[in-house]
C-alpha cells in the first residue's frame, strides 16, 4: 500500500481507572479504516464501541497499542496537537446533534473553521456551500430550536464535513430520530460517502442501520468479534477496499 490508511489501530487497548480499580474498556483492537470506506461498528452497550469511537476520533489516547490517525501516530501528542489532528482529519456527528442553541445553522456549520483561523467571510461561504450540499440552504439563518430533528442532524453533518475530513464518525446518528427521518439521514451519509469520498464510520446498536454499510465490525467485551472486511479478504482476492 503506497497510501496510508485514514485510521489504523494495532492492538489498541484502553483501560479506565475507576475508584482505583482499572476497568478495561477495550482489550486489543486491530483494524484499519481506509479512505472512502463505509463501515458500521455494532455491538451491545458496554461492548466498547463508544470507547473505540473516541479513540478513532482522536478524543482519547490508547493505554497501549499503536493508533495512527491521518497517518500520524497519536502517542505522545499534546492536547493541542490532538485538537489540530481532529480538526484536520475527523468530522463528528452525535446522537444528540450537539448544536450550539443560540447560534444560527450557518454559524454552527462554520464553527470548526473558527479553529482553523479562517476569517468570518470565508467561514460563512464554506458553511453556506455545505448547508446547500445537505439540502438546507433555505434554513441558513434558523436556530436549532427552529429546526426539526432531521434538519438539526443535517446541520450537524454539514458541520462535520465543512472541514473536508478524511473520516466522518457518526455515533448513533439516527438514535434521536424517527424511522423515516433516520433513513433519510443515513441516505445522506451514504450519498456523501460515495460523492465526496469521505470515509464514514457509523457506531450503532441498530442491526438494520448497520446492515446498510458495506462493512460491519461487531464488538463484544472490548474486542472485535467479527469484521466483514476480514471475511471479504479471506473470501476473495480483492484485498483492498476501493478508494
Amino acid at each position: 500500500m503506497t497510501q496510508h490508511a485514514a485510521i489504523e489501530a494495532i492492538d489498541v487497548a484502553r483501560t479506565y481507572a475507576l475508584d482505583g480499580v482499572s476497568v478495561p474498556a477495550l482489550r486489543g483492537v486491530t483494524l484499519t479504516i481506509a479512505h472512502g470506506e463505509h463501515v458500521a461498528v455494532v455491538g451491545p452497550s458496554g461492548s466498547g464501541k463508544s470507547t473505540l469511537m473516541h479513540l478513532l476520533g482522536g478524543l482519547d489516547q490508547p493505554t497501549s497499542g499503536r493508533l495512527r490517525i491521518g497517518g500520524r501516530d497519536v502517542a505522545g501528542l499534546t492536547a493541542a496537537e490532538m485538537a489540530h489532528l481532529r480538526n484536520a482529519t475527523i468530522g463528528f456527528v452525535f446522537q444528540s446533534f450537539h448544536l450550539l442553541s443560540r447560534t444560527s445553522a450557518l454559524d454552527n456549520v462554520a464553527l470548526p473553521l473558527v479553529y482553523r483561523g479562517l476569517g468570518a467571510r470565508e467561514r460563512r461561504e464554506q458553511a453556506a456551500r455545505m448547508l446547500e450540499r445537505v439540502g438546507l440552504s433555505h434554513r441558513i439563518g434558523h436556530r436549532p430550536n427552529q429546526l426539526s430533528g432531521g434538519e438539526q442532524q443535517r446541520v450537524a453533518i454539514a458541520r462535520a464535513l465543512v472541514t473536508e475530513p478524511a473520516v466522518l464518525l457518526a455515533d448513533e446518528p439516527t438514535g434521536n430520530l424517527d424511522q423515516a427521518t433516520g433513513a433519510a439521514v443515513l441516505e445522506l451519509l451514504e450519498q456523501l460517502n460515495t460523492a465526496e469520498g469521505v470515509a464514514v464510520v457509523l457506531v450503532t446498536h441498530d442491526r438494520e442501520v448497520a446492515a446498510r454499510a458495506r462493512r460491519q465490525i461487531t464488538m463484544r467485551d472490548g474486542r472485535v468479534v467479527s469484521d466483514t472486511a476480514d471475511d471479504a479478504e479471506t473470501a476473495s482476492d480483492a484485498g483492498e477496499v476501493p478508494r
Binding site: 473516541h54 476520533g57 478524543l59 482519547d60 492536547a79 493541542a80 485538537a83 489540530h84 481532529r86 480538526n87 484536520a88 463528528f92 452525535f94 450537539h98 450550539l100 443560540r102 464553527l111 470548526p112 473558527v114 479553529y115 482553523r116 483561523g117 476569517g119 468570518a120 458541520r159 472541514t163
Partner: protein, 394 residues
C-alpha cells in the same frame, strides 16, 4: 482561533445570561465606583489644603522657637523686640517681616462677647500674608510705634459682636481694655483646622503692654523669590541661635508644610483607596464564582468545541475573555458612576472632590487585572477538561 472571534464568543455568552452578567458586574461597578469616589475625595481634600497653605502668601518662611515636629510641645518663646530688629536687618526690609504675639482673649462689645485669638502684630502683616480688609483700614506704622488701642476684627468676630452693623469706629473691650475698631477683615475661612476669621489684630506694642510681656512668638518672612528662601531661613535661624545659644529655632517653608501635610493626606487617600479595593476584591471573587458556574453549565459546549478542534488554550481564552469582559464593562460603568457621583458631590456639597486621570486609568487597569486574575482559574479548569467526559456531561 482569532482573538476577535474569541471576543465575539465571550460577548455572546454574556448576552445569553443578561441578569447574571449584570449582577456580577454590579459588584465591579460598586468596587470601581468606590475607588474613583474615595480617591476623588482624598485628592479634593489634599488640593484644598494645598490651596489654603498657598493662600497664606507666596515664598513664606515661618520662624518659630523650638523644633517643628508632630510630637514636639510648642516652646515658650524668649524672642523679643531686639530679635525682631535683627530679623528685619537680615530680611533687609521691614515690609518683608511679620511678627505675632498670640493670646486667647475675650472680646466684648455691649452685651455680646466672643473668645478670639488675639494677635499683636506689625503693620506689615498684609504685605507678608494675603489678608484683605473688607471695611475700614489695617493698622499703620504709627499705630504700632505709638501703641494705639486700635483693633482689626476677623469677619466672624465682627459678625458675632455687631451683627449687620458696621463695626468700624465702634468700641470693643479686650481683656478689660477699650479699643477702637478701625477695620474688618474679609472672610478667609478655615486654614489647617484653624478658624482664621476668629482673629483680632492689634499693634504689637499695645499687645505687649496689655499682656505685660516683652516677648514675640513667631516671625514670618517673605522671601523676594523662591531661590533665596532657604538661604534666608538658614541665616535667620543662625542669627537667632547666636543671640540665644541655649535655644533651638526652626524655619519652615510652605513647601515643607505642604510636604508633611501632603504625605499625611496621601496616606489617607491610599487607605481610602485600599478600603475601596476590598470591595473590588469581593467583586472579583463574584466573577470567579460565576465563571466556575458558567464553565460547569457549558461543559457540553466545551466538549463539542474541543471535538471540533478547539485547543485547551482556545477554550481557556474564551472563558478568560468572558471574565475580563465582565470586569471591564463593570469597571467602565463603575467609572461612569464614580465620576458622576464625584462631580455631583463637588457641585452640590461643600465636600471637596477632585477627579484625577490617574485614578480613572488605575480603576480601569485594576478592572482588567481583576478579570484576568479571577478568570484564570475557571479558564484553566475549562481548558483542562477531557473532551470525552465533557461531551458526555448533561
Amino acid at each position: 482561533m482569532r482573538l476577535a472571534e474569541a471576543w465575539r464568543v465571550a460577548l455572546d455568552a454574556l448576552r445569553a445570561n443578561r441578569l447574571r452578567s449584570g449582577l456580577t458586574m454590579l459588584g465591579m461597578v460598586i468596587g470601581v465606583g468606590a475607588v474613583v469616589i474615595l480617591v476623588a475625595l482624598g485628592t479634593g481634600t489634599k488640593n484644598e489644603v494645598q490651596a489654603q497653605v498657598e493662600g497664606l502668601g507666596s515664598n513664606l518662611l515661618l520662624v518659630v522657637p523650638g523644633q517643628v515636629s508632630l510630637n514636639a510641645a510648642p516652646a515658650v518663646s524668649r524672642l523679643d523686640q531686639s530679635d525682631l530688629d535683627a530679623v528685619i536687618r537680615i530680611a533687609g526690609d521691614r515690609d518683608r517681616v511679620a511678627v505675632s504675639l498670640t493670646s486667647g482673649e475675650n472680646v466684648r462689645a455691649g452685651k455680646e462677647q466672643v473668645f478670639t485669638s488675639l494677635l499683636g502684630v506689625l503693620e506689615t502683616t498684609p504685605k507678608v500674608f494675603l489678608r484683605d480688609v473688607r471695611a475700614g483700614a489695617y493698622l499703620t506704622r504709627t499705630d504700632v510705634e505709638t501703641g494705639r488701642r486700635v483693633a482689626v476684627l476677623g469677619s466672624s468676630v465682627a459678625k458675632t459682636l455687631f451683627g449687620e452693623r458696621d463695626p468700624v469706629g465702634q468700641q470693643v473691650t479686650i481683656a478689660g481694655v477699650r479699643f477702637r475698631v478701625i477695620g474688618v477683615f474679609a472672610p478667609l475661612g478655615q486654614s489647617l483646622g484653624v478658624d482664621r476669621d476668629n482673629e483680632v489684630h492689634i499693634p504689637l506694642s499695645t499687645a505687649q503692654r496689655l499682656l505685660a510681656t516683652k516677648r514675640v512668638d513667631a516671625f514670618a518672612v517673605k522671601a523676594p523669590d523662591a531661590e533665596t528662601i532657604d538661604r534666608l531661613g538658614r541665616d535667620i535661624v543662625a542669627e537667632l541661635h547666636r543671640r540665644h545659644p541655649d535655644e533651638e529655632f526652626s524655619a519652615v517653608t510652605q513647601e515643607q508644610i505642604l510636604g508633611v501635610l501632603g504625605d499625611i493626606l496621601g496616606v489617607l487617600t491610599a487607605v481610602l483607596a485600599a478600603i475601596a479595593g476590598i470591595s473590588l476584591l469581593v467583586g472579583g471573587v463574584g466573577v470567579s464564582n460565576i465563571m466556575l458556574v458558567s464553565v460547569r453549565e457549558r461543559t457540553r459546549e466545551i466538549g463539542l468545541r474541543m471535538a471540533l478542534g478547539a485547543r485547551p488554550r482556545d477554550i481557556g481564552l474564551q472563558f478568560l475573555l468572558e471574565a475580563v469582559l465582565l470586569t471591564t464593562i463593570g469597571g467602565l460603568l463603575g467609572i461612569a458612576f464614580g465620576v458622576g457621583a464625584s462631580l455631583a458631590t463637588a457641585a452640590l456639597s461643600p465636600v471637596p472632590a477632585a477627579l484625577t486621570w490617574w485614578s480613572i486609568a488605575l480603576a480601569f487597569g485594576v478592572s482588567c487585572a481583576v478579570g484576568i486574575v479571577f478568570g484564570v482559574v475557571p479558564a484553566q479548569r475549562a481548558g483542562r477538561l477531557d473532551p470525552v467526559v465533557a461531551l458526555r456531561s448533561e
